[in-house]
């Protein structure tokens, strides 16, 4: 990843022929560790919630290694734990993971991953690594931020999941610990930063009410999937309003 081999491409005035400074690199690595530690704290709750949702410790840990996308993991465990079918749980997890494809689209021209490393980079394409990479001044720093954040989060997220899962497993009754209330709290905390203006608020309200209305009449897991479709007309409508 030597920047001296790669001439500055003009659109990044900050990157000189000498490449990014030592300070920039140290700052990025420090931030990567900090983001990994913060995400790790969240991983402990996923580990505990996974076991509370009826998964084994091994299944919970397998999700963190193989699926590696927090929201999708919580969704899968939440739907399974509520008695939903395996297919409904998988569908909810995949719908929440669609945003990772959009992250990849934005990152691809910045990272320019070749094939073998693209296979690894794909797995590390998550909220945190994308946000950190998009915030840099040059492609070289973006690559450093992507890899260091992705790897830091991967390692700490998996360690934390194992700790949380073992802790919940040792304690026994998840309801006495209030872990079933931890699941909706985790979802609301994931939702919170997305409620930036009126549009998302209306979508959240509409989807919430629809899910509430469908819960007594539809099989478990189905209300969540139907409610997710509220996003489609809302997204299309936003375009009509934007183009006069």
């Amino acid at each position: 990843m030597s920047t001296s081999e790669r001439p500055s491409r003009g659109q990044f005035p900050m990157s000189t022929s000498e490449g990014p400074g030592r300070d920039d690199r140290a700052r990025i690595l420090r931030n990567a560790l900090a983001v990994g530690a913060a995400t790790g704290a969240y991983g402990i709750s996923f580990g505990a919630v996974g076991v509370a949702g009826g998964l084994s410790v091994l299944q919970t840990c397998a999700l963190s290694v193989l699926l590696f996308s927090g929201g999708s993991q919580f969704a899968l465990v939440g739907v399974l734990g509520a008695g939903g079918s395996a297919l409904a749980a998988v569908a909810a997890a995949l719908l929440l993971g669609v945003r990772n494809a959009l992250y990849g689209l934005r990152l691809a021209p910045l990272l320019r991953l070749r094939w073998p490393s693209r296979l690894v980079g794909a797995q590390l394409t998550i909220d945190e690594s994308t946000a950190m990479a998009m915030g840099q001044d040059s492609p070289a720093l973006a690559r450093l931020a992507f890899w260091s954040t992705g790897l830091s989060v991967f390692v700490l997220w998996n360690l934390a999941t194992l700790l949380g899962a073992l802790g919940a497993h040792a304690f026994g009754d998840p309801r006495a610990l209030g872990l079933d209330a931890a699941i909706p709290a985790a979802f609301v905390a994931l939702l919170w930063p997305r409620l930036t203006h009126r549009g998302p608020w209306l979508v959240a309200l509409g989807a919430g009410l629809l899910a509430l209305a469908l819960t007594p009449v539809a099989p478990p897991g189905v209300p969540v999937l139907v409610a997710a479709l509220v996003a489609v007309p809302a997204g299309l409508r936003a375009r009509r309003e934007a183009t006069p």
């Binding site: 399974l80 995949l94 494809a101 689209l105 006495a176 931890a182 099989p219």
Partner: protein
């Protein structure tokens, strides 16, 4: 639900998630320039998370809607969010509140 079924869900979701991530790094850039694709994809998590909050809080056994310790836990979690608490604190406050409500016999 049998352990085999859970494993099938875990592996299927993992494979699908990986292919989703890989597709993003690999498909032509033109797709993103269609604004509605990005807008719908941006709103799907909002709708899905909101629905998950509702179902995980109010769905009881046999698909009945119930008001139990989870609602109290969620309310405490939202209060923590309003006070700008970090993720782990929000989750811990919600769990602790629900646990206290149950231990004190105030809610099921």
């Amino acid at each position: 639900m049998s352990s085999t079924t859970v494993w099938a869900a875990v592996l299927l979701a993992s494979l699908g998630s990986y292919l989703t991530k890989l597709a993003g790094q690999s498909v032509p850039q033109g797709l993103l320039s269609r604004g509605w694709v990005a807008r719908v994809a941006g709103l799907v998590p909002v709708a899905l998370l909101s629905a998950l909050v509702v179902v995980q809080t109010f769905a009881g056994a046999g698909a009945h809607l119930v008001l139990d310790a989870r609602s109290g836990g969620l309310a405490a979690g939202v209060a923590a969010l309003l006070l700008r608490a970090p993720f782990i604190v929000v989750v811990a406050v919600a769990a602790a509140t629900a646990a206290l409500l149950r231990a004190s016999g105030l809610a099921a």
